[in-house]
């Protein structure tokens, strides 16, 4: 294993790189370049090459064996509503559906927050097409080809970049969508086309259509990014596959990304989750909670049996889609989250964020409202003169003044007390989010290990654990680049589902079910083989969305390949009743109702080569030699200023330990070890805390 694996995570502010060669890992950082995201990537590559004492060309042509990228391009395009001009062909009678969704009301009281969906497709670019298929897949009204031809010509004349084909019940019969697709290709071969059946082959037209429309909408920025990165790498001599990370925590090849760019949504947070899953595997941890705190949000998820939980039918921006993503809960508690008072005069955090512009007050870039980062510098956790390894200095006086003005004056608190209050609220909010991903799904957080990464979260993580009575916590080595590291731990994943609507008790229709399963298996295998894996390398996992007859929402359950054949004891019905009651409580299963298998899901996994990380030998010893001195820090749990020992991570070898309170300073990360907690660096160079 002599090659170098490179993972690059393009975030909102920074582009993080991690390059792993054997037991050596190199981290590099660049500012994200929003005009052309590939620029930041090559700047980071430059920095990494320097660390290896190589030129970029040598690094890429001779040494690099893997290149995986995760990015926020789709997220940004949807958030900023900057995308293509999309044309839509839609079943006659239903042109307004992409515009009005399923009703717009949120669960906020405030009437002024009740606004319509952003209109990403102008009305004049949605054309109704005479055609109709019924729920059984019968063609009720045939497709009017001439109408499609006219519509396409009209849309092209209107200057659309891409066309989405959105017909009802294509999941039962895709003939009309395919025919329309062919007509578009014949008339306008250069126009990007997505059929809703290709975007998501599941029923519920709104979310399937939105998936296709969003796929068209975000295609241009993703496409040009993929081109620039691929060509840039080729030019510098890289010959291996260029891979991209998707929101399910797997990788995709460039060609697949060009077809379904929407799959890149939420790939950043997924990177961290996959990295955490790798830790779970390494340590043999059954239930693991992980978290990352960025500039605007705190993201968390649960890893059960080394596998992250998948959420279906996820929302992208304001739009419901049929996309499955790792089930990551995000709340507005980031370093840039604003601190202030609510309508009652009670301190609150967020949900607004100062972002990177103007940023926290202490950055001195024009921010006037205090943020969580201002609280942390005020409390003394962050060193004003040595922020991010000395790259920036922080204006602590401005931060203090803002905290007093926005919180302290009204509460009768000084800057430290205001900061400590905000810290406690942020901890409570994050603890509630962890509760959301664990207790709600039936997992006890006390039995979970918390993995905290990113630059900021390790300052809060121990307090979050204490709020939930979690006793085991890990801050990974390279915490700030952990999401980039996670990219390298990903496998090649393809998840496909098809809507069936089979009543499990109806054994006459079993034959059709078996055919569908086999076809889906073939489809998934072929796609993965096409990406360069041999059939033997592919692991196929089966599962399905079920619901009781009479219900409207499905619940997913894993299946064995032949589970659909089994009846009675150990059969699907019995297993589902049990799984349902595990989720919702005893006696909640609908034993008197039939069971319906709505969507059959096949997930194909091809295992990729991973970085081989071997533990080094551990010498358990006091971390005294890493002690660089003390600093007065206002500890929120103690509610007083305490001379706190400061440790230099560089000098903490494997086995070095100490008892809190103490702060470990890593170049770009600060780890807080509270009183009565013990931290030890282990053989993987991760920091393990016992609370």
């Amino acid at each position: 294993m002599s090659g170098i694996s490179i993972g690059i995570d393009v975030g909102g502010t920074h582009t993080d790189l991690i390059a792993i060669k054997g037991d050596r890992a190199v981290r590099a950082k660049a500012l994200t370049t929003h005009d052309d995201y590939s620029e930041g990537i090559f700047v980071a590559l430059e920095a990494a090459a320097t660390e290896f004492e190589l030129s970029v060309d040598d690094l890429l042509s001779e040494h690099a064996q893997t290149f995986v990228n995760g990015n926020t391009i789709v997220t940004n395009a949807v958030t900023e509503l900057k995308g293509a001009r999309v044309g839509v062909l839609v079943t006659a009678g239903f042109a307004d559906i992409p515009r009005f969704g399923r009703g717009n009301r949120s669960n906020e009281f405030d009437d002024q927050l009740q606004v319509n969906l952003p209109q990403i497709v102008p009305k004049e670019c949605i054309v109704e097409i005479t055609e109709r298929i019924d729920r059984d897949g019968n063609i009720v009204v045939p497709l009017q080809r001439s109408q499609v031809e006219q519509a396409v010509k009209r849309l092209i004349a209107q200057g659309v970049d891409s066309i989405a084909v959105c017909f009802l019940w294509c999941t039962r019969n895709d003939a009309h969508e395919r025919e329309a697709e062919q007509i578009i290709r014949d008339i306008a071969p250069k126009t990007f086309v997505t059929c809703s059946i290709s975007a998501a082959s599941v029923f519920r037209e709104y979310e399937r259509w939105m998936t296709a429309i969003l796929n068209c909408y975000i295609q241009p920025p993703v496409n040009s990014f993929v081109t620039r990165v691929s060509e840039g790498l080729r030019k510098r001599g890289y010959t291996k596959a260029v891979e991209f990370f998707n929101g399910l925590g797997g990788v995709l090849g460039a060609e697949e990304v060009r077809k379904l760019p929407i799959l890149l949504y939420s790939s950043g947070p997924a990177g961290g989750a996959i990295g955490a899953a790798a830790l779970a595997r390494r340590y043999g941890i059954d239930n693991l909670l992980c978290g990352d705190m960025g500039g605007t949000s705190f993201d968390t998820t649960l890893i059960h049996h080394e596998k992250p939980i998948v959420a279906q039918r996820c929302r992208i921006g304001s739009f419901d889609t049929a996309i499955s993503l790792l089930d990551i809960i995000s709340i507005g508690a980031g370093g840039g989250s604003l601190v202030g008072l609510d309508s009652r005069g009670v301190p609150k955090i967020g949900p607004q964020s100062a972002g990177s512009m103007p940023g926290p007050v202490c950055y001195g870039k024009g921010g006037t409202i205090p943020t969580m980062t201002d609280c942390m510098v005020t409390l003394g956790f962050l060193r004003p003169d040595n922020y991010l390894g000395g790259k920036h200095t922080l204006d602590i006086d401005a931060a203090r003044a803002a905290l007093v003005a926005y919180v302290g004056d009204a509460m009768g608190w000084d800057a430290e007390q205001s900061s400590a209050g905000a810290y406690s609220l942020a901890v409570a909010n994050m603890a509630n989010a962890l509760r959301g991903v664990s207790i709600r799904r039936g997992y006890d957080p006390r039995k979970c290990t918390f993995v905290a990464y990113g630059g900021a979260l390790p300052m809060f993580a121990a307090a979050i654990c204490r709020a939930l009575n979690i006793t085991e916590m890990i801050v990974p080595n390279h915490s700030s680049a952990f999401s980039a590291y996670g990219l390298l731990e990903a496998d090649y994943i393809r998840r496909k589902s098809v809507t069936i609507g089979w009543t499990v008790e109806d054994r006459d229709k079993l034959g059709g079910m078996i055919n569908t399963r086999d076809a889906l298996e073939r489809e998934v295998s072929e796609e993965i083989e096409h990406a360069g894996f041999s059939r033997d390398d592919i692991q196929l996992l089966h599962g399905a969305d079920f619901r009781y007859a009479g219900q409207l929402n499905e619940m997913y359950m894993d299946l064995g390949v032949d589970d659909i054949l089994k009846e009675g004891s150990g059969g699907m019905r019995e297993n589902f009743d049990a799984a349902y009651e595990e989720e919702f409580g005893p006696e909640t299963a609908w034993r008197d109702s039939n069971l319906m298998l709505i969507n059959y899901v096949v997930t194909g996994i091809a295992v990729r080569d991973k970085p081989h990380i071997e533990p080094v030998e551990v010498h358990r010893q006091s971390a005294d030699s890493a002690l660089t001195g003390t600093r007065p820090v206002f500890l929120p749990d103690a509610r007083e200023r305490v001379d706190t020992p400061i440790y230099d991570s560089e000098k903490m070898g494997p086995g070095a330990w100490f008892e809190g309170p103490g702060i470990i300073e890593v170049r770009d990360t600060t780890i807080y070890v509270p009183r009565d907690a013990i931290v030890e660096r282990d053989g993987y160079m991760n920091f393990r805390l016992k609370l």
Partner: protein
């Protein structure tokens, strides 16, 4: 926003011995508990009424019955839950209560249900034999027996015909539903399996809440937790009182009528609302016509929850965490019993919340707009709004599917697909739902077709449904479907406003009304057979049977097309001030028709390459010409007087009323400003006919709009609804001399 004027209460000074941060953590924990209960309910229920329409609630109470946490959704249930829990406490405490007791509540008269279709479960929470709180969950179940399906009975004459009623009966012990009760329920409702399943879900949700509540008591101890509950209730109360105190002292008066046409004639039943601002207290005084032997009478929770609390939290207390403290700031007077706002048994009440309750909510919203627009605080002036319609084309169908199974279908599309009121911040929200229902949605066409024996022909915006204004009201939905592989279903219809739609404010016009019709024995099947489109009414032939608004036993047969048009929200501000490019956008978006653009917005519409457009300059000219005909010596062009803030209309300047557009004096404060302006009365039916906007025109006592224009700038300042022969004081504000 005027930050100075809404300086928050100083939480620090309310109870110095308590920590505001801990208080906030505790408050969030209570809301979290309610949220988790809601999640359990949502994920286990089979009813689309829960999963899509979110017609349910989860509320947490302390041991003495004070609301401490709630999970949104139906705001009316904030009142239902409170009445139910407090009634159970009164009836059962201290001796007749055991841990794990299950009380079932759906009687509007005794335990606060909005209507009998809303079945609630109340359970005590005990920690080691000590009562530490209560959980309440409730959901609109698809059938509760009685003469009509779906718990809504347009034809019932009394509440005994309507449904079975549970007055907080003990339906189980130790957290387990009693078999005797299950047996009783099974023979009294049409779809017993789903009924029992949903009740089980309600109980499961209460269990989930109890577990969390016990953990909270473990963490803080009963006494400490109690202190923090007091503290948080105090904080919300103080914040709301400070908000109320920013409204001018005096009385906002408004009125309306409730429609009922279920027995042949179309009758209107008067209601009125006086909202008194007295320092930091709000008093609501309602009057109503004599109670009716039909389902429109308002239950106590339809008055307090849907009528009052809904507009209050959406418009005035929108950012204040909800708990018992909000209730402490209001008083309600519904007068002597025997009226539609204070009915007595046996008055039927199954449509209480969306008939009289809805009208009360619209009036309270209007009263808040009136008082808010006269406030000295900019933020409150900015809270004026057109009325949300809160009236959909409701229908429920009952019949036998082709597989022989009984089906009750309660399509939510045209109930959720109704417009919100125009706001000062922009146009009203499309498909907003009832004001009282948060986070509502309707099922996909494919969900309907998979589950129900329906084939949907079209689903689109209901043209011209949003009320005209500087900001337009939100749009409703237009949808048609027919039976598919089934024959002969029977329907109940319940549309609450077909003649008196949602009103606008400050010169904004009413929204379009709802309508249900059946195209009888249409040619739809032949059309389909020959592969022709059926995606709009003009493609179909057949007899158009426009249905009464409240009627039962409507037959739907093969070949019939059911066509429902839902209403939109009221507009805000003068539509002649709306920028022509926005009228143009609405026209291109097919939200308004050419006729509506011309009639209601004074637009000049041209055609370019087959596409209609609004001519900007010509439109402003036309508007000035039309208004000059009403106010010959008007001083400003409408383009000049159009201001950014659509809420403007009439405001107060020192001792006189004035036009907010040109600041013209409209009389002293002790006078009625309405006598100092230029009025015009038009028949609403004729106006809406010309503007192609849905309305059923009354033959007896037709409906008029009374527009009032500024005598100097000719801006439209208000559009009131009048009824021929009824001399009621138009909505307005009276400053109290006291």
């Amino acid at each position: 926003m005027n930050k100075q004027a809404v300086a928050p209460t100083h939480a620090a000074h309310l109870a110095p011995e308590l920590d505001p941060i801990t208080a906030e953590v505790v408050r969030c924990a209570f809301d979290n508990i309610a949220d988790e209960m809601a999640v359990v309910l949502l994920r286990t229920s089979g009813s689309p009424v829960l999963t899509e329409a979110k017609d349910f609630s989860a509320v947490v109470f302390d041991a003495v019955g004070r609301q401490v946490g709630s999970a949104g959704y139906v705001l009316g249930h904030l009142a239902s839950s409170r009445i139910a829990v407090q009634e159970i406490i009164k009836k059962r405490m201290p001796d007749d209560l055991e841990p794990g007791d299950i009380f079932i509540c759906n009687d509007p008269y005794t335990v606060g249900a909005l209507h009998q279709g809303d079945v609630g479960i109340v359970m005590p929470i005990h920690q080691d034999e000590t009562l530490i709180g209560w959980t309440f969950t409730n959901a609109h179940l698809i059938d509760v027996g009685g003469v009509s399906i779906s718990g809504i009975a347009p034809q019932a004459h009394d509440c005994f015909e309507e449904a079975i009623r549970f007055p907080g009966s003990r339906a189980g012990r130790n957290g387990v539903l009693d078999r005797e009760w299950i047996g009783f329920i099974e023979v009294n409702v049409r779809v017993p399996i789903s009924f029992i399943n949903d009740v089980r879900s309600l109980i499961a949700a209460c269990h989930a809440g109890a577990v969390r509540m016990r953990a909270l008591v473990d963490e803080y101890g009963v006494d400490t937790l109690d202190h923090y509950i007091d503290y948080n209730i105090g904080l919300s109360e103080r914040a709301f009182r400070e908000r109320i105190a920013l409204l001018p002292d005096g009385v906002a008066h408004t009125y309306d009528w409730v429609e009922y046409d279920g027995r042949g004639s179309s009758d209107l039943h008067a209601v009125s609302c006086d909202m008194t601002v007295d320092g930091d207290q709000l008093r609501f005084s309602f009057t109503g016509a004599e109670q009716l032997d039909a389902f429109i009478n308002a239950t106590p929770s339809a008055v307090a929850g849907g009528g009052i609390m809904t507009p209050l939290v959406c418009q005035l207390a929108f950012d204040i965490p909800f708990n018992e403290g909000i209730w402490n700031c209001i008083e309600i007077d519904t007068g002597l019993p025997g009226t539609i706002v204070n009915p007595r048994v046996p008055a039927p009440v199954t449509n209480a919340h969306i008939e009289t309750g809805m009208r009360l909510g619209r009036m309270v919203g209007e009263a808040l707009s009136i008082t808010g627009s006269l406030s000295e605080t900019e933020m409150l002036r900015g809270r004026a709004a057109g009325q949300a319609t809160s009236s959909g084309a409701g229908a429920a169908w009952f019949g036998v599917k082709d597989d022989g199974a009984l089906a009750i279908i309660f399509p939510l599309d045209n109930l959720v697909g109704i417009g919100g009121g125009a706001q000062t911040t922009g146009d009203g929200q499309d498909l907003y739902g009832f004001q009282t229902t948060l986070a509502v949605s309707f099922p996909d066409v494919e969900v309907h077709e998979l589950v129900d024996p329906f084939f949907v022909l079209w689903r689109r915006f209901s043209l011209n449904s949003g009320g005209a204004g500087y900001h337009r009201g939100g749009m409703g939905m237009d949808q048609a479907y027919m039976l598919w592989k089934a024959d002969k279903f029977s329907g109940s219809l319940f549309i609450s406003a077909v003649e008196l739609p949602a009103r606008g404010f400050a010169g904004g016009y009413p929204g379009g009304a709802s309508r249900s019709a059946i195209i009888r024995s249409s040619n739809v099947l032949e059309k389909l057979k020959s592969g022709q489109p059926v995606s709009s009414p003009d493609k179909l032939s057949g007899a158009l049977d426009v249905l009464p608004a409240k009627v039962s036993n409507v037959p739907l047969r093969e070949g019939d097309v059911y066509w429902a048009t839902s209403s939109g929200g009221g507009g805000l501000g003068d539509p002649f001030h709306r920028p022509p490019e926005q009228v143009d956008r609405d026209l291109k978006d097919a939200k308004i028709s050419r006729a509506a653009a011309e009639e209601l917005y004074g637009a000049v519409v041209g055609e370019r390459e087959g596409v209609l457009y609004v001519d900007d300059a010509a439109t402003w000219d036309k508007r000035d010409r039309l208004r000059a005909a009403l106010v010959p010596n008007k001083r400003h062009s409408l383009k000049e007087s159009a201001c950014e803030n659509g809420a403007a209309g009439v405001t107060v300047k020192s001792d006189h009323w004035c036009c907010s557009h040109c600041e013209a004096k409209l009389g002293m404060l002790n006078q009625d400003w309405k006598v100092c302006v230029v009025p015009r009365r038009r028949a609403l039916g004729e106006l809406f006919d010309k503007a192609e906007t849905q309305l059923r025109t009354r033959e007896q006592q037709p409906v008029y709009v009374r527009e009032r224009f500024c005598s100097e700038c000719a801006s439209c300042l208000s559009v009131d609804i009048e009824l021929e022969g009824s001399e009621r004081t138009p909505p307005g504000f009276r400053f109290d001399a006291a």
